[in-house]
Point group: C2
Amino acid sequence: MTTTTTRAAGRRAGRRRGAGPAGATSDRAPNYRQLRNPFPIMSVFSDDEAAQIHETALRTLEDLGMKVLLPEARKIYAAAGARVEGEMVFLGREIVQAAVASAPKSIHCRAGAAHRDVILELGALAFQPGAGAPHATDLKRGRRPGSGEDFREYTRISHHYDVFQMMSPSVEPQDIPTPVRHYFTMLAQMELTDKFPFLFARGTPQTLDNFEMLRIARGLSEDAFIQGVHAYTIINTNSPRCLDIPMAQGLIDFARYGQLSIVTPFTLMGAMAPITVAGAITLSHAECLAAITLTQLVRPGAPVCYGTFTSNVDMKSGAPAFGTPGHFQASLAAGQMARMLGLPWRSAAGSASNINDVQAANENQLGLWGCLLAGATVIIHSAGWLEGGLSVSYEKIVTDVEVLNMVAELCAGKKAGTDEIGFANALSHVAPSGHFFSAPQTMERYTTEFYEPVVHDYANFGTWIERGAKDASTRATAVWEAILATQTDFATPPDRLEALRAFIDKRTVEGGAPPES
Amino acid sequence: MTTTTTRAAGRRAGRRRGAGPAGATSDRAPNYRQLRNPFPIMSVFSDDEAAQIHETALRTLEDLGMKVLLPEARKIYAAAGARVEGEMVFLGREIVQAAVASAPKSIHCRAGAAHRDVILELGALAFQPGAGAPHATDLKRGRRPGSGEDFREYTRISHHYDVFQMMSPSVEPQDIPTPVRHYFTMLAQMELTDKFPFLFARGTPQTLDNFEMLRIARGLSEDAFIQGVHAYTIINTNSPRCLDIPMAQGLIDFARYGQLSIVTPFTLMGAMAPITVAGAITLSHAECLAAITLTQLVRPGAPVCYGTFTSNVDMKSGAPAFGTPGHFQASLAAGQMARMLGLPWRSAAGSASNINDVQAANENQLGLWGCLLAGATVIIHSAGWLEGGLSVSYEKIVTDVEVLNMVAELCAGKKAGTDEIGFANALSHVAPSGHFFSAPQTMERYTTEFYEPVVHDYANFGTWIERGAKDASTRATAVWEAILATQTDFATPPDRLEALRAFIDKRTVEGGAPPES
């Protein structure tokens, strides 16, 4: 925040140069916490084609079925009237349609502070940093297996930027034993951020531990906890057409306790999904419907989001590609399906590049625009993801935030009233070939009119060379270092943190809770 | 182009690996030559606000006036009823409105070959590489003042990619004396590309030389030349509210000879234009209307495009910034004005970065999306521009082409018919948790379904390290080197080139034609 003193100094400096307000610092305090998507919606298929995809997805569930590995889940489907043969579940459309009808169209997600709450519904827009990476990388320490320290640092960097309204499981802390890892990641989120938290669904024991910890940290009774949405998980089906044990348990547990599942089949066209956008989205849609149905059979009205993450493989190498035309079109197609259901939904950006370079930037932004024009409610992997999710980069999260912040600025729109058009306070003040540096309109607005960049540099070539000719990724190192050098700007009540740590100590002594598989 | 033999080999290799078609090469032959914009149009202002901007622009021309430095232009305005006082021209709205009415809404631009022709009208989409740079830069030779060699090389690289439908004056060949430079750049375009060419309007003598050369190269009579649009120029006003001598001459000469002027005020918010998007676009719109009016007063129906290039300065340094929210919104606003007039129009991407890095990629792509969602007909500086146009980069044109190609792919759309949805030929062929590598749908489509990248690399981290850990910009060097190592794929008839060289020799002996100022 700029003080009045530096503002005045900046203004004086501008006047001294006779060139108006150059040298100004910014007084802007934009609100990136609750965004609405300002971009027009784009479709890739006709309404008839979209209807045919929906119809084929229903037929897929009816005739081809889903393999469901968890007996409890098969029982729930069977009780609703589905035909179950061995591990296969054949789901009639009337069951699916009733589930879609009972799923909430707007979900109030409760964060650690009310100003951090997020409403998920069609038309809203929320960003998550890149998630689920086994490795972390930065230009200081290189690429390494993700550690607890990385998880805590990445949590702090993610917390720092308001444009991430939801936390994500950025990097896997591989040095923390798996039976107690969920204590570590939950404690880190409760200590380091008051944003809407993420929990992995790695089996019922871990999930129930996590719910208990969240109750303690938020100071909620069991009943109050169930009445509000305090955390979310991501449910990946095992495409094609399989729902494994921990994912089915997650759907059931989160629904039962009123917490949010975001269902996201990860379907690579040409590999685990058909090679076409239409075929891949048909498969993804069918799997989504099956998973959403399970949540509603457990508890009608349970919070659940539709989702997709569909891109193509590279046909030369078989490797996943992101930020491609196919990825973009798959987002558009998924948006058409989500709007047909009326549900909030998640899509994804991301990059396959191995380094935070031009490819990484271009892939991420192209994928992002696909999500934005598709009307996605939540955009995951919107920053920091490299190698198709095998690493998160400390520099890339910073350089991607620059883009997300600018998108958030676009959400705010612009006015064109009398003052903004400025015939009286700008246009008529300046002679032909003159400049507007000292026009009244400029003087009124120069500290607030423009977005102020995080890492982009507008120095001219000579100055840039003098300053060490650093590219944006190199400059980003200093940005995340500065974030980590500052204190967290909020405090979870110490008594709750103490109770949380006591719970963790007790459960750790008991052996924790190994993940299910 | 892939031969049948390599296709078959690729398919066999895929079968050998038992992993379907990975290892495939592409059979795709997409047509990027005539694009239609598939993106939904976005507005930043309400219709009322846009109407008020138009109204204020008309009032600006009536009450504040334009300074017009060329006496001939002032006479033309005066003859139409404008009030002229000294160098100031005050333009009544009825004159402007009549001019807009007579300006063509669709312009058929004739290239050296019919398949290269471009139709400019609302809904069409054409890209130009970055233009007008005094310097060239690449990773092999570094940054240097632009030379004739650079101009010819950049012309060849621009020609190579179909996604550039129009040529641009990429880099200034500073080693060619100014009285004969226009011979050099015209000869280079006639020898090295059959795309729609660009001519600078640097005074009537150079323009008439250029028209004559174009007639010779295209084999056209004087009359046939005037009947078709064979070249274009860019008209930059001297914002605010000044039209200088060469620009006014250009508008008059191009209109008189039936050639295309693209009017593009270059207005930096907070410097040569009001600090607000609304104010800057009001000024830009007024200047555009004045310039368009001049063309129509010279020759009603003369081809002319509306245009804008509006971004903001950085308030810390006073330096121009590109790819900002303000830049994006200015494109949207200009699109609203262009649609009000019904005219094809030009907007611009671009980057302020000093190197082809993440900033350069993100700025360029954000600016590009502003143009695309604004419904721009022509997007200049869509590739290769660095330092706010002070240099063009050989690597950046390649890495930006990757994005433009992907946008061109999106123009083609996707189908979702029975074959694409693929219940019979894909979905029902694959068991739960299986893969689609060998599904019939995959086998039919794997050489054509996906976009094949120019420079993006999908190798995994280990392979990428083994191959030298090259970032995208470094890899792009090999791409442009390969283009320059190949022959141009078309031939201007030798007798015409001979006649063109004879004309140039004659005019060079006569001293050429110095630029006007």
